[in-house]
């Protein structure tokens, strides 16, 4: 068991090292900090002095080490565009994205799992067929198109919801939340729905498939033979055993949600990390791009690690290997 954990940690470390190296490449070689700080009119001596002060005359691996030291404490330099520390920018944008992704995940699980269970128990029912059709559409429609459709219906035609922004937010320390105001909650509806529809469809199909398989297993027949009530058989025995792959997929999907949040934020002009990185690309703001890459890489590595650990925790068979 400890060996498995150590091996996982090793691969996480490898991922982080690769990400840090890429992030360093963007930060150091694509951007030109000297030009950026002094402007193009500085003299050669001034440039040389600044290069030395910034440590740019040292060997690459020394610079990489300094980059790592600073990255660990969250120092990614100054944004070219906003003239603010990159980390402050990222921290001010993070709550919007985290709120969006978490709400979408909760919604996807709360709706997707029950729908999957229902479809597995009554595969031939009318409602099941309708749900399966809807989920096929949910998987096939691109997220940005769904978002635009929602805007068209609810903002342009019905004029119920605002098509962009977060509404009013409440500051709690450095965290800003839209969950505590009416306009903030209303603003969340369409982006969360846009992000969640694909996940709902996928989780539903996954749960249904797994559960139909488990329902055919011998231990389920045995449980029925013991005279256990349907409810106990279905929920305590069948559902529990079909949730294992769901854990993996949901974990990986949270990662994908961070990526798809970029699209969603672009559609709804949601002021989160996605819009930040899109603007950074537009203005060649390399420090922000480097920091975003490092942060997202760290996030993915942590999510993967957590999923593996949960797996070890809930499935005893994994521990014995």
């Amino acid at each position: 068991m400890i060996a498995i954990v150590l091996r996982r940690l090793g691969s996480v470390l490898l991922v982080m090292l690769v990400v840090a190296a890429l992030s360093f490449l963007i930060f150091n070689f694509l951007g030109d900090p000297v030009n950026n700080i002094l402007g193009v009119n500085a003299t050669l001596e001034e440039r040389e002095a600044l290069r030395r002060a910034l440590g740019l005359d040292q060997p690459t691996w020394v610079q990489f080490w300094h980059f790592l030291e600073r990255a660990v404490v969250g120092d990614f330099g100054i944004s070219y565009r906003n003239r603010q520390p990159v980390m402050d920018l990222i921290l001010s944008r993070m709550p919007a994205t985290v709120e969006l992704v978490l709400c979408a995940t909760v919604l996807a699980l709360a709706v997707g799992v029950p729908m999957g269970v229902y479809c597995a128990l009554r595969p031939r029912g009318v409602l099941s067929r309708v749900l399966q059709m809807v989920s096929l559409i949910g998987i096939s429609i691109p997220q940005f198109l769904l978002g635009m459709l929602l805007i068209l219906v609810f903002s342009v035609e019905l004029r119920w919801l605002s098509a962009f922004g977060r509404g009013e937010v409440v500051e709690i320390g450095w965290w800003s939340t839209g969950l505590l105001t009416d306009s903030g909650r209303k603003a969340l509806i369409m982006p969360v729905l846009t992000l969640a529809v694909f996940q709902i469809s996928m989780i539903m199909r996954l749960v249904q498939g797994e559960m139909q398989e488990v329902l055919r297993a011998d231990f389920i027949k045995f449980a029925r033979a013991r005279g256990l009530p349907d409810r106990a058989v279905n929920l305590r025995h069948a559902l529990r055993n079909s949730l294992l792959p769901v854990v993996t997929v949901v974990g990986l999907q949270i990662g994908a949600l961070i990526a798809f949040a970029i699209v969603c934020e672009a559609v709804f002009q949601w002021p989160g990390l996605g819009l930040l990185i899109l603007q950074a690309i537009e203005y060649a703001d390399f420090p922000v791009m480097a920091a975003y890459l490092a942060l997202v890489g760290f996030g993915f590595a942590m999510i993967n690690l957590t999923v593996d650990m949960i797996y070890l925790f809930i499935d005893p068979r994994m521990r014995r290997k």
């Binding site: 691969s11 096939s140 691109p142 940005f144 635009m148 990526a259 899109l278 690309i281 060649a284 590595a301």
Partner: protein, 307 residues
């Protein structure tokens, strides 16, 4: 002539063709796909207008709704955008670019993935470990994220004039690089089995050079699953391109793919001109859906375990 007829008849009678005729969804998807590919390839011949020739555009005809809505004109069946371009024609030309980028990106993934997979499976040892580790690292990120980053960095680095010219290739490169791992894994596993089979040993005994055995004898035997993966990958690649273009990182407005058309239409959505974005969107959905349904069918039809 009679020979081609005979081989055509053999193809029609084959197991695969029979399975195809048994599956209505696959037939519908394949027909739809065929129609769309024909429209895309023959766009210059069959499109009612030439949307990218400024000489033929009339600004008076801009923002016209579809023909069946009040104010629409029959010459522009699906309406016009803000420059007076016929939406139906831009869709034909847009599909051309979307399909071209998708196919090229998948081919790139296949070439990279198959080569690395063959090498990893054939060599084993540290070469294998290095290639597969690289794949593991890449797989811990979603494909879309990798394509997004390659594309974004390329865009930020290039001066604006170079950006427009190279866009097509940069997008293909970004998507192609992002998706090689699945091909490498499949081919590697197949290579490791094939290289120990008798025919490979016989070739080795008769002193056929290693590289020749690998590419002439082992490679063809690993390609079956690759074809299925590539078909399913095509849907993902077309969708990824659309997302990149929608975010402004893909094809430029002068050379728009379906995603770029939707991006242009998105700015006009709030003023109620829905047809400029929704029709290209519908075309995208139909394209991706038919590729996916056809790919799913192909996977099941070629799966020996389901026979």
């Amino acid at each position: 002539m009679s020979r081609t007829l005979a081989s055509l008849r053999a193809a029609m009678d084959s197991d695969l063709a029979w399975r195809f005729r048994q599956s209505p969804p696959a037939m519908v998807a394949a027909t739809l796909l065929l129609v769309m590919v024909v429209c895309a390839v023959a766009a210059p011949l069959i499109a009612p207008h030439t949307p990218f020739d400024p000489g033929t555009l009339n600004l008076m005809d801009s923002r016209l709704p579809p023909a069946w809505v009040d104010g629409g004109m029959l010459t522009y069946p699906l309406g016009t955008d803000e420059q007076g371009r016929d939406v139906l024609s831009t869709i034909f030309y847009g599909m051309r670019i979307s399909i071209a980028v998708g196919v090229a990106a998948v081919l790139l993934s296949v070439v990279i993935g198959v080569t690395l997979g063959l090498v990893a499976g054939w060599c084993g040892g540290w070469v294998d470990a290095a290639i597969m580790r690289l794949g593991d690292v890449q797989l811990s990120f979603p494909t879309i994220m990798i394509a997004f980053f390659i594309d974004g960095v390329a865009k930020a680095v290039m001066p604006p004039d170079l950006r427009e010219m190279t866009r097509f290739y940069v997008v293909i490169f970004a998507i192609g690089i992002a998706d090689w791992v699945q091909f490498a894994r499949t081919v590697r596993a197949a290579t490791m089995i094939e290289k120990n089979k008798d025919y490979a040993a016989a070739a080795r005994l008769s002193r056929v050079p290693g590289l020749k055995i690998l590419f002439a004898h082992v490679l063809p035997n690993t390609l079956g699953p690759v074809i299925i993966l590539a078909t399913l990958g095509l849907g993902v690649a077309i969708l990824t391109e659309a997302i990149l273009s929608f975010l402004g990182l893909g094809m430029p407005p002068t050379q728009p793919s379906l995603g770029a058309l939707i991006r242009v239409g998105n700015d006009l959505l709030l003023s109620g001109e829905w047809w400029i974005s929704m029709f290209p969107g519908l075309a995208l959905v139909l394209l991706v859906l038919s590729v996916n349904i056809f790919g799913d069918w192909l996977r099941d039809a070629l799966n020996p375990r389901l026979k």
